[in-house]
Each structure stands twice: as C-alpha cells, then as structure tokens.
C-alpha cells in the first residue's frame, strides 16, 4: 500500500511539473501573441473580455468580439480625423488601416462573416464609417479567400452601398479567385452576374481581363468565353492593350494566337487578329522606334499581317520618325502594291506637318515609279500653301501622264490665288487652260 501511495504522489508531482512547463509555454505564446497584437493594434481600445472558462483573454487577440471592438475604435478615430487633410493624419490613418488589414488577413472566413455581422449591427456606427470598415474587411478577405467574398456579395447584394466599390471588390475577388479556381468563379458569375447592370458587368469583366492580361494573358483569353463575354473584339482589345512591356506584349500575342481559332468565324477571327495586332504594334511604338521594330521583327507577324497594319494605320507615324518609318516599310513590306500606296500617303502627311523634312527625304530617293508617286503627293499637298514650290517640284517629275496631270492641278490651284504667276508657269511649261 505504501509503495502505491508513493507512486501516486510521484505521478501527481510529475503531472504538476509537466503542467507548469506547458503553462510556461502557453504564457510565452500568449505574451508573444500579445506583443504581436499590440504592435498591430495602434488604436481602438478593447475592453477586457472573458472566455467561456472565465479566464481573461488578451486584448487584441483574434476573436471576433475583441476585433470588432477594436475596429469600432478605429472607425471612431477615422471619423474624428475625417476633416483633416494633412500628411501626418493621412499616414497615421494609413498605418492604422494597414495594421488592421494585416490582422484581418489572418482570419478565417467564418470569423470574417461574424465581424461583418457585428459591423452591420453596431448601433454606434454611421453609414460612412460602417461602409469604410466593411470595405476594409472585404478587401482583407479578398487577399486569401476571394471565393468567400464573391459568396458574401451575392448573398447580400446591398452590403456594399457604393456601386463603384462594389464593382471594385467584385472584380478584385474575381481576379484573385480566377488564379486559384477559375471554374468556380465562372460558375459564380454565371449564377450571379445578372444581378449587376449591363454597364457594371462590362466594367467588371473589363477590369478582370485587363488585370489578368498583365500577368496571365493565356488565362485572360480563356476567360472571354468562360465569363460569357459577347463583345469579343472589345475583350481581346482590352487584354492586348493591358500589356505594359514588350515582354508582356509577346506573351499576349502568343496567348492570343493560341486562342484565336476558338473565336467565331474565319471572318471574325480576321477582324480580331487585325485589332490585336494593331493594338500591340501601335503600343510597341511607345517604346521608341528601335525597340518597336526589333520587337515587330521577333514577333513572327506574317507579311500579310504587317502589310495590313502598315496599310491601315499609316497615320500613326510620329513626325520625327517619319523617314525611318518610310525606310522600314520600303525594306520590310514585300507587297509592292501596298508600298506604292502607303509611302505616297505618308509623304503627303509628312509634307503637311514638316514639308522641309519631307522634301529633303525626297531629294535623296533614287528615281523610280515609287518616287514619282511620292513626289506627286508632295506637290499636291504643297500646292494650296506654296504653289511656287509645288510648281518647282512638279517640273522636276519625269515626262509622262503623272507629270502632265500634276502640273495642270498645280496651275488650277495657283490660278485661284495668283493668276499672273500661274499664267507665267503655264506659259513656261505649255499647260493648256
């Protein structure tokens, strides 16, 4: 019996010792949590709360009651400083909200829902601070649980009062959600997209496509069909124009080419191809002529695609790059019928904006039919403003039908402003009335 009692005492003593060690570790963890929480809760004093066991909970711990209490404190502070518009207040506001976002991001969806219910039911909150807190909570939840946010939005359509914020949070949640579960987002949008107006849907899908277009263009193109977007031309254009760098442009182009066969008829695909090519090539010129033509060279455009672009968007040329652009077209477009139309058109535009530079470029071109056409457009553009200079250029054109008709047009134009000079020009070159 004695040994049994000794053994019992030893067991109990061991238990007490082990419990002390565990309690020590609990206290350490609680202290660490308390410190971590204290640094992340700059404002919003929390009353001492007691748990079911009656043990006091550390202020600022991640239970929804203390979080709610802290958030209400934050709302009061934000409201009190709402009329201040100085840097110190803004930074303090930002820091406070940022710290709260850090804490909220660690919560689980059910805790967030409790918090949202608490915010909605807090009688002391005015409409504006209530909406501010809801935005903060939903933005934080979007970081880790975007699908839950979409669920909350569809379950409570009037939760976010401001339509702009509602669209923003919805599009953000969709962007985040698509990255991890695209099919679930598609299903959600299928079921609940109709709750938004057509205009709002356009804005939401446009944001989603543009955001995905910057980071995951393949997914972006896939989402056009997934989200049931009807205006495919606009959607592909949005993705293409979201590319910020030439590397992004290359990724967009590859993804677009992969998806193009899935979009409509051959005729519609042709229109889409042109639209996307135009957007990407035009944007490439924002990086400067050299980088742009380097990128175009590597992008694998067919001759037809290049010719289409050059033919239809020839007026996008910057004046200071006109001569380089003309040279590039002449060297790179093999369809000479395109070149013979585009270069004279470009020369005409260039003459309008910088006639001396255009004339100098023409001076250095070797004689050819192309040069004759370009000179003709130069002359006709000059004729209204500088008929004498136009006449000089016309007279230098090679003999033939083009020269004769050009001289006659210069004469007709000149006669309306200086009949004597025009007559002298006509007499000198034998131009009939």
């Amino acid at each position: 019996m004695k040994s049994a009692l000794i053994l019992t005492v030893i067991i109990l003593a061991g238990g007490v010792a082990a419990d002390r060690i565990i309690r020590g570790k609990i206290d350490e963890a609680s202290d660490a949590l308390h410190k971590a929480t204290a640094t992340s809760v700059p404002s919003g004093k929390t009353e001492e709360l007691r748990g079911e066991t009656g043990r006091p909970r550390p202020a600022g711990a991640n239970d929804t009651r203390s979080l709610l209490s802290g958030l209400l404190g934050l709302a009061k502070e934000l409201e009190a400083s709402s009329d201040k518009d100085d840097l110190a207040t803004l930074d303090a506001r930002r820091d406070a909200m940022l710290d709260w976002q850090r804490r909220l991001t660690g919560l689980e969806p059910e805790q967030m829902k409790d918090l949202i219910a608490g915010i909605l039911n807090a009688p002391e909150l005015g409409d504006e601070p209530r909406q501010s807190l809801l935005r903060l909570v939903l933005e934080s939840l979007t970081e880790r649980h975007p699908l839950e946010v979409l669920g909350i939005i569809s379950a409570s359509p009037t939760l976010i009062g401001d339509p702009g914020w509602k669209m923003r949070i919805t599009s953000d949640a969709m962007i985040r959600g698509i990255a991890e579960a695209p099919d679930e987002v598609i299903r959600w949008y299928d079921d609940h997209g109709a709750a938004f107006s057509e205009r709002d849907r356009d804005i939401i899908t446009d944001r989603v496509l543009r955001a995905l277009g910057q980071t995951e263009p393949e997914l972006a193109f896939r989402m056009i069909k997934g989200l049931g977007i009807q205006d495919i031309e606009k959607a592909t254009g949005a993705i293409a124009s979201s590319a910020r760098t030439l590397d992004q442009a290359s990724e967009s182009l590859i993804a677009f080419r992969d998806h193009l066969p899935t979009f409509g008829s051959a005729e519609e695909q042709e229109a889409l191809r042109f639209g996307v090519n135009m957007s990407l090539i035009t944007n490439s010129f924002n990086h400067g002529f050299d980088e742009a033509v380097d990128w175009i060279g590597k992008a694998g455009f067919s001759q037809k695609e290049l010719a289409d672009y050059v033919f239809r968007v020839r007026r996008n040329v910057r004046r200071d790059e006109a001569s380089r652009w003309l040279g590039w077209i002449d060297e790179n477009i093999t369809d000479r019928s395109i070149v013979s139309q585009v270069i004279p058109d470009l020369v005409s535009d260039w003459t309008q904006t910088d006639y001396k530079a255009a004339a100098e470029w023409l001076e250095h071109q070797p004689d050819s039919d192309l040069k004759t056409s370009a000179v003709q457009r130069h002359v006709l553009t000059l004729a209204r403003y500088q008929p004498a200079e136009a006449a000089r250029w016309a007279a230098r054109m090679p003999e033939g039908e083009a020269r004769t008709s050009t001289m006659k047009m210069v004469f007709d134009r000149w006669r309306t402003t200086d009949a004597a000079a025009a007559d002298a020009f006509a007499k000198r070159h034998g131009i009939g009335p």
């Binding site: 991640n62 840097l87 660690g106």
Partner: protein
C-alpha cells in the same frame, strides 16, 4: 501488491493525463493564434505570404512600404492597376499631399525624375498629370513656360493645357494676354507645318477665345483675324472643348458673338463645320430643344443646319448606343426633328451616322446595320444606304455589297456595287 493497491496510481495517472491533455490543447491553440498573427504580420513589406502555399505566390496588390518622399516607380505600378484598392488610393492621396508642399523648382525636378523612368507611357502621363495639376494651382506661368518650352513634358490629355490657360485667363485676362503675346513676339510658337500652325499656340488661342467670346467679342475677333486664314477654323472649333456654348440657356450673347465671329473670320466653306461644332456637347442632353435654341441663336443657314443635323446624329447615336437605346423609337424621334432642320438630307445624315457606329463595338455595328436596312425598307430612300456605305468601310466589302444590292435605283445600285468592288481601302 494487491490489485486494489493499483487503483490510486491509476486514478492519479488518468487525472494527470486528462489535465495535461487539456493543457496541451490550450498550448496548441495559443501557438496557432501566434502562427496566424505572425503570418499576417509577416506580409509587411513582403509581397508574398509566409506559408509558401500556391496562393501565396500571387503578388499582393498593395505593397505597403512607406517611403519618406514620393516613390515614382511605385506610383507608376499603382496607376497601372485596373482597379485600385483602399491602400492604393491612400498612396495616391499621400503623393498629392507631398506634391502640394513642394516648391515650383521641386515640382519641375519631379517631372524630370518621372521623365527618366522606364515606365509605360500611360502611367508616365498619369504621374505627370499629378505633378502638373499641382503646379498649375501653384504657379500657372511656370507651368505654361515649361509645357511650351522645347523638351517640356508632353501633354497627352487634350484639354490639360487648355484648361490651365483658360482658368488663368478667366481670373487675370490682362496678364494671360500679355504672357501669350510675349511668347508669340519671342518666336516661341514657330512651326514646320504647311499651315504654320503650332499646336501650343492653337490650344492657347482657343483657351483665350473661350474667355473673350462672352466678355470682349471685338478682342476675340481681332485675335482670330490676326492669324493666317488656314489656322482659324482649327482654333474656333477647338475653343468650345469644355462644352460651354448653349449651356446657359437662351438667349445667350456668347452665341450671337460666336456666330458673328465665324462669319467675320472664316471662309464660307469652313463656316458650317464651325457652326455645328458645339452641337457635339449639346447633343449629350436629352431631346433636341438645346440644339434648336442654339441653331436659332447663331442664325444658322440651311447649309449650316444640315451640318448641324449630321453632327447631332453622330453624337446622339453614340449616346444612344452607350445607353442601350439605339432603336426605332429613338431614331423616329431623331428623324422627326431632323426633318424640321434639313428635310432633304435628314435620312442621309442618319445613314452616315449609323455607319460611323461601327467604331463602338460589334454589337453597335450590327444594330446600326440592321437599322439602316429597316429605314431603307420603310422609306425606300436609297440615300440611307448610299451614305451608310460611304462611311462604312470597316464593315468590309461583303456586308456592304449586300446593302448595295438593296438599292432600288438600278443605276445607283450598279454604280455603288462597282465602287465597292474597286475600293482599295476596304477589307473583305
């Protein structure tokens, strides 16, 4: 020991085990709370979450790291975001507040700093606009000197310089005129173009016209008359960029002055376009009353009214598309109004305006095509289709040929089909 002797230690063992297991649960809970808190806190300044999971590899939208000054590279990223969250908006506001405290020299230096960044042209302009807006409020002369100097910031928003100068000229017209005339005299607005037009001067003269048209019509006419004829129409049609004309109700002396200015300074051929230019903003309002009032006030001629009908159709239809109201009911209202202004050409103007809707997306283009066919069927007026085809190149040859085949007049039909087949500027 007898079996009964094992009972006390067994009970003690069970009690200790139970007690310790509860303590262990508490320890586990405390550690989990700490882990969650540390993970959330660990994201500060670090765009990745700490758990290394798949979702944590996504970049955070807002990397919340404060810098003492303005981090332009960071701001360019914010401007590039298709939708901006709470923290992005706070950062933009913070930059505005920092800019507000900068001197003119510091703001000009900020523009130079932005110019040196390798960022997208759209984000560069968004940042430039932030700086220029503050500079405009602080020192408009320094801003305008900068913008009109060689190497000055390139303004991508068409109205920016116009708004800054007209704002300043509205408050201090004498100083603004003196500054503008000084720049002209110094030869700062030279041009390489055939018309001699300098885009800075065009913008500034247009802004000055906005101020003078209501307050000093004679001075306005004198300034425009002093310019070469080829430059005048561009300035006159541009000055109403903010849509002031006709907004103040009728009668409005500015409108009478505007009509008189056009007739005093522009060649007859340029007058209809200039008269109809303000209609682009007037047509944004519901109904046609504002446009009627405006055309009456400027004493529009029949030719000018035709131009006005075309401008109304172009703008009105675009708004109808945006409001998803491009339909027979609305177009009937337009036709009834247009018939009071230009009975012979109303349907042709409608056809052209419908064709130009092809720029508003595939849905609008299809609806416009359908309406052109509908009204041609209803009225038998071939001009609807002919005008549609003239402005409808982007529909492609096949679709326009199918329209041309509906033209009732055989001669006109044959001619239209031939022109479509020969048109080199048209896709299939």
């Amino acid at each position: 020991m007898k079996p009964i002797h094992f009972i006390p230690p067994a009970v003690a063992l069970a009690a200790v085990g139970l007690w310790l297991s509860r303590s262990c649960v508490e320890l586990q809970t405390a550690n989990e709370r700490l882990r969650v808190q540390q993970q959330a806190g660990g994201r500060v300044g670090d765009p990745l979450l700490a758990d290394g999971s798949e979702k944590s590899r996504r970049p955070s939208r807002d990397v919340p790291k404060l810098q003492p000054g303005i981090g332009w590279q960071r701001l360019s990223e914010i401007h590039g975001q298709p939708s901006k969250g709470i923290f992005a908006k706070l950062e933009l506001r913070r930059a505005e507040l920092l800019l507000r405290d900068m001197s003119t020299e510091e703001l000009l230096a900020a523009l130079a700093e932005i110019a040196a960044l390798d960022v997208d042209v759209r984000e560069r302009w968004a940042m430039n606009e932030q700086v220029l807006t503050v500079l405009a409020a602080k020192d408009p002369v320094a801003l305008l000197d900068h913008l009109t100097s060689p190497g000055g910031t390139e303004v991508l928003s068409g109205n920016f310089t116009f708004n800054v100068f007209s704002g300043w000229a509205g408050k201090d017209p004498a100083a603004a005129i003196a500054w503008l005339d000084g720049k002209i005299a110094a030869g700062d607005f030279t041009s390489k173009s055939l018309t001699g037009e300098n885009h800075h001067r065009t913008t500034l003269e247009a802004a000055m016209l906005k101020v003078l048209i209501g307050s000093d019509a004679a001075a306005a006419t004198a300034r425009i008359s002093a310019l070469p004829e080829a430059q005048r129409a561009g300035i006159i049609t541009r000055f109403n960029i903010s849509g002031e004309l006709g907004k103040r109700g009728f009668p409005d002396p500015s409108l009478t002055n505007y009509g008189a200015l056009i007739r005093a300074t522009l060649p007859a051929d340029d007058q209809p376009t200039a008269i109809s230019a303000p209609i682009r903003s007037l047509a944004a309002h519901p109904g046609y009353g504002n446009i009627d009032g405006y055309l009456d006030e400027v004493a529009a001629t029949l030719r000018e009214r035709l131009s006005g009908v075309a401008a109304t159709a172009t703008t009105k239809f675009r708004y109808l598309v945006e409001g998803n109201r491009l339909n027979v009911e609305e177009l009937d209202k337009f036709r009834a109004w247009a018939a009071t202004q230009s009975p012979e050409r109303a349907d042709a103007a409608m056809g052209s305006a419908l064709a130009s809707l092809s720029n508003n997306g595939a849905g609008a283009a299809a609806k416009a095509y359908e309406l052109a066919v509908h009204y041609h069927g209803e009225t038998g007026n071939d001009q609807i289709l002919v005008s549609f085809m003239m402005w409808g190149n982007s529909y492609g040859r096949e679709k326009l040929l199918s329209l041309a085949e509906r033209i009732k007049d055989p001669e006109l039909r044959g001619k239209s089909i031939e022109e479509l087949r020969k048109n080199p500027y048209m896709g299939p």
